[in-house]
Amino acid sequence: MKSLDFHNEFEKIINRDYFSKKIQPIRKNAFDKFSEFGLPNKKLEDWRFTNLNHFLKSSYVLSESKHSEPLKLDLTKFEIPNTSTIVFINGHFKKELSDKIDNVRLLSGIDYLESKNWSLQNPSDCPFELLNTSFMDSGMSIVLEEGQNPEKPIRFLFIASAKEELMISPKIHIDCSLNSSLTFIEHQVGYSDNFFMNSSINCFLDENSSLHHIKIQSDSPKAVNINRVHVKQNKDSQYTFFSLALDSQLSRLDIKNDLNGEGADCSINGLSLSTQNEQLGSHILTNHFSPNCSSSQNFKNILHGKSSGIFNGKTVVHQNAQKTDSKQSNKNLILSNNAIMNSNPQLEIYADDVKCAHGSTTGSLDKDAIFYLRSRGLSFMNAQKLLMEGFAVELFDVIKNESIKTFIIQKFEKWLSEKT
C-alpha cells in the first residue's frame, strides 16, 4: 500500500458519523502530516533494515461494522486461566464475548481523549504513528485509581478474521496512578490471510506504580504487524515487558521508554521465533532522564528459513542521569543458510557515574554441545531441541504470573516441536 492509497480510506473514516466531531481535527492534522512525510524508506537510519515490500504491495481497507462478525472462531484455543479477557474482533469490541471487569475504569478511545481534553498524550512524527492517529478505530484504555491493584491480569485479545485485507489501528492508553499495579496482556491472533495491525500503546506510570506488560503475537504468515509502545515512568515506578513474536510476514515492535523520575526501573524482554520468511524486528529506545534509574533490554531471536531478525536497541543516558545502571543483551541463533540477523545494540552516554554494558552474540548451535548430547544417547532432533530450549527459557523468568507463563511456554514448546 503506497502512501497515496491511504487517501480513499481516510475519506471514509472522516465521514463516519458515529465518531465525535472533536476527533476529526486530530485525525486530519495527523493525516496531513503523514501525507507530507510519506512512508519511511531504507534511507532513514531507523528503517534501514525494515523491508516494506510486502506492505507496499498489499491494499488494505478499513474494518467496517460488517467485519465485527468473525469468519470462524474458537476462543478456547486462546484461553488463559485466571485472566479477565476483553475481545476485539477485527478491531471491534465484542461485549458478549468479553469478561465483565468490575472496579477498573475502562474507557473507550473517545472517552479517554475527552478526559484528556482532546489532546494526544504522545504526539509523534513517526509515519506509522501518524497513520494510527488518522485511522484509530479500536482499542480501549485502562485507568487505575490510586493504590488500585486488580487481582486478575487484564487481557486484550485481538482477533483478525476476515476475507478482506483489513487495516486495524488500535490506540490504547494505560494510566497507572500512585501505588497501583497491573498485569496487562496484549494478545494478537490472526485468522485472516493478510491484514495490517498498526497499534499504538501508551503507558503512564505514576510514582511507585508497576505495570507488567506481556505481548503475545501469533499471526497468519502474511500479516503485517507494526506496533509501538511508549512508556513514561515517574519516580520509583516499575515497568516489565515481555514479548513473544511468532509468524507474520512483517513484524516490527518499537518501544520507547522515558525514565523521568528518580529510581524508576524498566526491563524490556523479547523472544522472536521464525519458521519461514518472517521479518521480526525489535527497536527499543530507553531514555534515562533521571538519576538512580535502572534499565535492561534482553532480546533473543531464533531464525529459520529465509527469515530475518533485527535488534536495534538504544540506551541514552542524559547528562543528569547519574548512577544509572543499564544492561543490553541480544543473543541470536541462526539455523539456516538464508536467514539474516542485524543486531545494533547502541549506547549513548552523557553522564560519567554510570554502569552501562551491552553484549551481542550471533551464531548457530554449538556442534560440540550437540555431539556431547548425542554421545549420551539423545537423537539429533532432541539434542537440538534441548539446546534451543536452554537458549530461550531464561527469558520466561520475567513473567511473574504462573498461568501466563504456562501459556507462553506451551506456545514455545509447540513451535519447537513443529520446527524440529
Partner: protein
C-alpha cells in the same frame, strides 16, 4: 598535596605542547578548487595522463556528491574553496640530512624525533613528509637490497607506474565516499610501499606526517602492497602546530595483502586538538583507511592511538576476501576538552574461515564526545567466520560522553559473532584502594588508564609503545579524580 579538583583543573588546562609554526618558505597555490588547480597539481608533479584523468574523474564525481552528515560529531561547515590544495617546501631533492633546512630539523627536534638519532639508534627508516612533499628518505639503500620499495607516492608514479596503476583505487575506489573522492582528485603526495614475494621487511617503516603551512589541507595517499609470503610493519605518527583556523586532513590509506602476507599498520595521532577553552582551531581528521586481505592466509592489523584532532572521523577497515584471512583492529582513542571522535572499524567477512578481532578503548574527559561505530558483516559465503569485538569506554568528568553504535550483520549460520561493551567511570573504590596504599590520585588514574589500554598498547611496535604511553600521560594523566 594538591587536591583532585586542582589536578583536574591544571591538567585540563594544559596547553598543547607541540604548538609552533616552522618558518620555512613554501610554494603554495592560491586557495580554491577547480579543474585548473587539479591540472596544475598534476603538472607540478609531472604526472602521466592516466593519473590526471583519474583525478578529473574523481573531481567530476565529487562535485555531485552530497557532504555526509551522519557522524555523531559537530563542526563548522568546511569551505572547500578556502583551502589551498598544494604546498611544498621550496628546497627539494636533498641527498643527505646535512642538506635539509636546519629549521626543519629543529622542528623534528621539538617533536622529540630527531632524524639522525632515530637513524642511528632505532633502525627506523623515516620517510619524512613535511607538508606535502617528501623531503628526505633514509635507509633507502638498505631496503633496496631486499627489493623493498619505500618511497614517496610521486616517485612511485614515475618509477613504478605498473604497480601504482594496478593497485591505486583497488581498495578505496575514487567513488568510495565524499572525502576519499576529494582526496582522489587533489592528493599531493604520500608514501608507497611494495614488499616483494617472500621478503620480511628488515625494519619498521615509518612516516611522520606534519601539517605545517597555514590553510593547507593535507591530502595524503598511502598505498602499501605486500606480495605473497611477505611481512611488513608500518608506522604513522602525526603532530601539527597551533592554528586558529580549522584544517582539514582527508587522507586515504590503501593496504593490499596477497597470499600469506601480513601488514601491520600502526598510528599514533596527536594533531592539534583545538584551543583548550573553546575547541577552535583544531584539525579535522576525516581519513579513509582500508585494507584488503586478497590472498589466502593473509593478515591485516590496524593499531591506532588517537589523542589529537578536534574532530576525528575514521574507520580503518578490513575486507577479508581470502580464505583463512585475519583482520585485527586495536584502538585507543582519547577525547579531552572539546575534542570529538567518531571512530571504529568495519570487518567484511567474505572468505571462508575468516577471523576478525576488534578491541576498542575509549577515554572521554572534559567536554569530549566519543563514539565507537563499527560494522561486522558476515556474507553468505563466509563459512565458519569468527568475530570478537570488545569496546570499552571510561568517562572522566560529567560533561563528556561515550557512545557505542555497533552494526552486526550476519548472513551465514556457521558464523560465530560476539560483541561486548562496557561504559563506566573510574570507580571510587579503585581510587580508594590505590590512595590507601599510598599512591597519589594522579598516579592511580594514570595506572588505571594505562591498564585499561594495555590490550592495545601491547600490539604497538616497541618505538611507538613508548611514545603512546608518553602521549597518554600528556593527554590525560591526573585529569581525573
Amino acid at each position: 598535596m594538591p587536591n583532585e579538583q586542582q589536578i583536574i583543573d591544571s591538567n585540563l588546562s594544559k596547553e598543547y605542547e607541540y604548538g609552533f609554526v616552522s618558518d620555512i618558505e613554501s610554494e603554495t597555490l592560491p586557495p580554491g578548487l577547480n579543474e585548473n588547480i587539479i591540472r596544475i597539481i598534476s603538472k607540478k608533479k609531472d604526472e602521466p595522463q592516466w593519473l590526471l584523468d583519474w583525478r578529473l574523474k574523481a573531481f567530476e564525481l565529487w562535485k555531485k556528491l552530497p557532504e555526509p552528515s551522519w557522524a555523531n560529531v559537530k563542526y563548522e561547515k568546511i569551505d572547500y574553496q578556502a583551502i589551498s590544495y598544494f604546498s611544498a617546501p621550496k628546497k627539494k631533492e636533498l641527498a643527505s640530512l646535512d642538506e635539509v633546512d636546519p629549521e626543519l630539523l629543529r622542528t623534528y627536534d621539538k617533536l622529540g624525533i630527531p632524524l639522525e638519532e632515530q637513524k642511528m639508534l632505532s633502525g627506523v627508516a623515516v620517510d619524512a613528509v613535511f607538508d606535502s612533499v617528501s623531503v628526505a628518505t633514509t635507509f633507502k639503500e638498505d631496503l633496496k637490497k631486499e627489493g623493498v620499495i619505500f618511497c614517496s607516492f610521486s616517485e612511485a608514479v614515475k618509477e613504478y607506474p605498473h604497480l601504482v596503476k594496478k593497485y591505486l583505487g583497488s581498495v578505496v575506489p575514487h567513488s568510495d565516499n565524499y572525502y576519499a573522492t576529494l582526496n582522489s582528485a587533489v592528493f599531493t603526495d604520500g608514501s608507497f610501499v611494495y614488499i616483494p614475494k617472500g621478503v620480511r621487511c628488515p625494519m619498521e617503516l615509518s612516516t611522520y606526517f606534519r601539517i605545517n603551512e597555514a590553510n593547507t589541507g593535507q591530502f595524503e595517499r598511502t598505498l602499501i602492497i605486500a606480495d605473497k609470503d611477505s611481512h611488513v610493519s608500518y608506522l604513522e605518527g602525526c603532530t601539527a602546530p597551533m592554528r586558529d583556523e580549522n584544517q582539514l586532513h582527508a587522507a586515504v590509506v590503501e593496504l593490499v595483502a596477497l597470499e600469506n602476507a601480513t601488514i601491520k599498520y600502526s598510528t599514533v595521532q596527536n594533531w592539534y586538538p583545538g584551543a583548550p577553552d573553546t575547541g577552535l582551531g583544531g584539525i579535522y581528521n576525516f581519513v579513509t583507511k582500508r585494507g584488503a586481505c586478497l590472498g589466502e592466509n593473509s593478515r591485516i592489523s590496524w593499531t591506532q592511538v588517537e589523542t589529537g584532532s578536534a574532530v576525528t572521523w575514521k574507520y580503518p577497515s578490513c575486507i577479508l576476501k581470502g580464505d583463512n584471512s585475519v583482520g585485527e583492529f586495536y584502538s585507543v582513542a582519547v577525547t579531552n576538552n572539546f575534542q570529538q571522535a567518531d571512530t571504529g572499524t568495519k570487518m567484511i567477512h567474505i572468505g571462508k574461515n575468516t577471523k576478525s578481532t576488534i578491541i576498542s578503548k575509549g577515554i572521554s574527559a572534559g567536554k569530549g564526545q566519543q563514539t565507537y561505530r563499527g560494522e561486522v558483516k558476515i556474507m553468505k559465503g563466509a563459512e565458519n567466520a569468527r568475530n570478537f569485538s570488545q569496546c570499552d569506554s571510561i568517562l572522566i568528568g560529567d560533561k563528556c560522553g561515550a557512545h557505542t553504535f555497533p552494526y552486526i550483520d550476519v548472513r551465514n549460520p556457521s558464523a560465530q559473532m560476539e560483541h561486548e561493551a562496557t561504559t563506566s567511570n573510574i570507580g571510587e573504590d579503585q581510587m580508594f584502594y590505590c590512595n590507601q596504599r599510598g599512591i597519589s590520585s594522579e598516579d592511580a588514574v594514570s595506572m588505571i588508564v594505562n591498564g585499561f589500554c594495555k590490550d592495545v598498547f601491547k600490539e604497538l611496535p616497541m618505538e611507538f609503545a613508548v611514545e603512546a604511553t608518553k602521549l597518554m600521560e600528556v593527554s590525560l594523566e591526573g585529569s581525573v579524580g
